[in-house]
Symmetry: C2
Subunit: 237 residues, 2 copies
Amino acid sequence: MKAFLAAIESNGQSCGDCAVRPFSICASLDKAEMQEFEHLSRHARFASCETVFAEEEITVSFYNVLEGVMRLYKLLPDGRRQIVGFALPGDFIGMTVSGRNNFSADAISDVEVCRFSKASFQRFAEDKPHLLRRINEMAIRELALAREHMVLLGRRSAEEKVATFLISWRDRLARQKGASATLPLPMSRQDIADYLGLTIETVSRTFTKLERDGVIEIISGGVRLLDPARAEALAAA
Amino acid sequence: MKAFLAAIESNGQSCGDCAVRPFSICASLDKAEMQEFEHLSRHARFASCETVFAEEEITVSFYNVLEGVMRLYKLLPDGRRQIVGFALPGDFIGMTVSGRNNFSADAISDVEVCRFSKASFQRFAEDKPHLLRRINEMAIRELALAREHMVLLGRRSAEEKVATFLISWRDRLARQKGASATLPLPMSRQDIADYLGLTIETVSRTFTKLERDGVIEIISGGVRLLDPARAEALAAA
DNA sequence: GGCTGCTATTGATCTGCGTCAATCATCCCG
DNA sequence: CGGGATGATTGACGCAGATCAATAGCAGCC
């Protein structure tokens, strides 16, 4: 058992050659801090559809996403689901005030994370203003995204929702791997629906309509943006 | 002109007897810091319906709300509005990453604020980990509220939306002035509609329905919670 | 008191999206 | 290759909430 755990939870390569460092909170650390920080983390992997943590559980770890995509969501008692975001490499998740997770997270693709115990992370961060400012900055950025999403959920039509989703997904991927008209969509239609406050049928119909209108082409595992300008117009207005 | 400005923008009473201190970011400051901090702030007042700042403007100030209620909202180009939150005494607003406001704010009632210039505030906060942690904590709390609100906007019925709004408004006021079954609602029906992603007519009809069902009584300037348990049940499920 | 303006309520009707159900496309696995 | 699982698409229909329109309250003001 111990060997098994060691296999799935290891330090892997060092932070020195970490691909997501410039995007993550680690970008704020200097060399010495980095070395200390490295000892606090353990790599972990999750297969597609595995749960990483659940809402309301006591928070024991924070996570830095290294690879893959996770869905972050909240459930109502009757099972209705709202996806509050997708986590990509570089995202730092798990911070709470209450000490309990305020959403659930599971892997959409195979996922690799850097895991920190909450206690040791907090001890490390306590007196490092530059790290605190960095975390702050990321929280404020998240907050701005959350508010954008409120507008989408409260005030936009199905077609606008889907177009906005495609454009902002494209822009998010572009920041990581450079711009491309071909968008991989690792999440299911159901995930997209729960993210946009729609049903799976409406998402499907809207994709079809956008394809009929020549805005996109639906391909296996994603979408090709044929008319980005038109999509952007739908997303803006 | 100078005298006029002095009249509307003064330090007023000192932070020493500030009523919202325990709720605000200032709670993290010690006595000496407090004194320094006091010199950075200017009191300002806004009449009901006055704009405090607008989305996309360059952020020049941060605000601590001392008294009154503000609505924080985003507009789509065609005028559709989403209220992303209401600010109450103790709330700290204005933090951005981009340097531009990511929402507009105007006074719903007469409002009194503590205003800080962005630059001097940032200089002051720079190397104060306890203050940074406090700001962090508030940002994370905001984020949790924002995610709660996404669930409401994306997945709840009109009746659930209104009930949830009333219950969480009650709880928020309770934290400030103690519990009460009589809820003042300083915002208009239109504001409530734009907060909940509904129309004014639907909000009005839902209030009426809740009154018919004996859950609330609609009174001038607010609502009385006749059956809090029933309202909570609607808000939960 | 009566007029004006504004917000809230109520009613009638419409419609975008949800619901229910059938079919299709992929992929796996024997 | 065929069968069965799973997810996506399409169609028919219904309804919650939007839209359009007509009062109703109510405060301010002459």
